[in-house]
Symmetry: D2
Subunit: 154 residues, 4 copies
């Protein structure tokens, strides 16, 4: 299963008067983490992959999160993002945020592939994920599995 | 069932390069809508009810949302927030965002009652919701049902 | 001098762990206030006026603010926005935020008129403000002055 | 002159429908950059230095910025933050954001030292910066100048 891990620090500006992260910020973190996974697999930045595949974005149509323990400003957290499904019409991702090794937040999201309307660019349409993109994700997952198997076997 | 409706405009600063609302903003909208419901029932602002009941907040421990159609800057939306459960240990709320009468987003959240640690105020503890608060919510629901029944009967 | 006043409540999500507004939020408030002034004068929403005048936006090129007293969540504030200059190449605006009648924040900003590059829509160019727009702002200022003079004379 | 440099990527969530950064985000970047400088000099995170020096924060009382060229999502930017004054009552800082070596944004800010009211912790008071803090900043500036002089001399 394809996955990416990144680490960030919870900043003052992420937190609310209770001194803990304001929970909508987690969805910003999830969004940036999904982009980071896509950028790594596709080998280009989001700016470039939106152009390369001529689409308007991969918006979330459904999401869910469980907040198990709060994080507060100054905390360093790790976000592990896994692509658990990449089918014809939808991408499903899971995020696990941990702090000091302990699970803090779980996130789940379903995304779709949108293209911009030719006549009225403000409007967008849901489209099948290009086969080339699905193939690249599958290949990346295979390569990652091989590396992880090798690591385990050592 | 206790409910509150408020309307807001989606602003430029809520939207992303795709021209639609950046979805984490919906959770900010949900949070402010929950506060608006509480403020109306408790008859005081959040600043004051946190002090009156001596607690640190009512953070979300689990949330979920379905995004059925996008909203874009300049859209006027209505948010209907309903308190669907107010038990000893948890508050469950549902939000329905509509645009031009059509459902755009559904949100679901579970909140708990937190008090601040006496010795180390940065830390918080989950506590039962005060009986006075539960009673006020129940009374408000009864009053609202009576008003709505009267409206229907007319 | 053309001006517009709007009132908002400082929300929980606007505030930081010190319990006061996180100051970058004021610039979001200024931006929305400028849009509100433009929408009123041009008689259409920002979505529509960007299309009507075929431009990409009126970004800030320079801004300044003085924070005289903090605002905290639950505070109701008034924002008075004045257009102090609308010349060929730049718009200058001033914002005054008050709380309970007392001045809390002053903001100053200079904006320019941008159009989108025909060949590469991601890029934008600075252009003179259309004469029609300058004329509408001038007319609105004259009308407002007449109303305010009448109010004063009464 | 004491300075710190950090690099970040402009993310999708930082940008507006024009595809460029929404300018209030720069003030969030400035705020985090100031904290990064303080953390390095004081040798502890903001969480810890607020406790160590028993104060409520170092809020901005005046700020100013010039936006020379836009940054857009995917851009990697460098922020150089310099402490240009650390007097009895105020801290003055300057930020320079560059993209690909070219100056994009300049920021200027004046901060004060706040302590929390003993009787009513929601309220805060302006206080002189502790001598220990001023001494540490002076020492860090001297050390940095020595390192930079050595680098230049080599």
């Amino acid at each position: 299963m394809l996955r990416n891990i990144r680490t960030i620090r919870i900043e003052w500006c992420d937190c609310d008067p209770a001194g803990i992260i304001f929970y909508p910020r987690y969805f910003e973190i999830f969004d940036t983490s999904t982009t980071a996974l896509f950028e790594r697999v596709l080998g280009m930045t989001k700016v470039d992959y939106l152009k390369a595949f001529d689409f308007a974005g991969h918006p979330v149509v459904e999401t869910r999160a469980r907040f198990r323990q709060p994080t507060r400003f100054g905390d360093d957290i790790a976000i592990e993002t896994r692509l658990v499904e990449c089918a014809q019409s939808a991408l499903r991702l899971e995020h696990r945020i941990s702090k000091g090794g302990a699970l803090a937040v779980e996130g789940f999201e379903t995304r779709v592939w949108l293209t911009r309307d030719a006549a009225e660019p403000r409007y967008v349409h849901r489209r099948p994920i290009p086969k080339e993109v699905i193939a690249r994700f599958a290949q990346a997952a295979t390569e990652q599995a091989a590396v992880e198997h090798a690591d385990t076997a050592t």
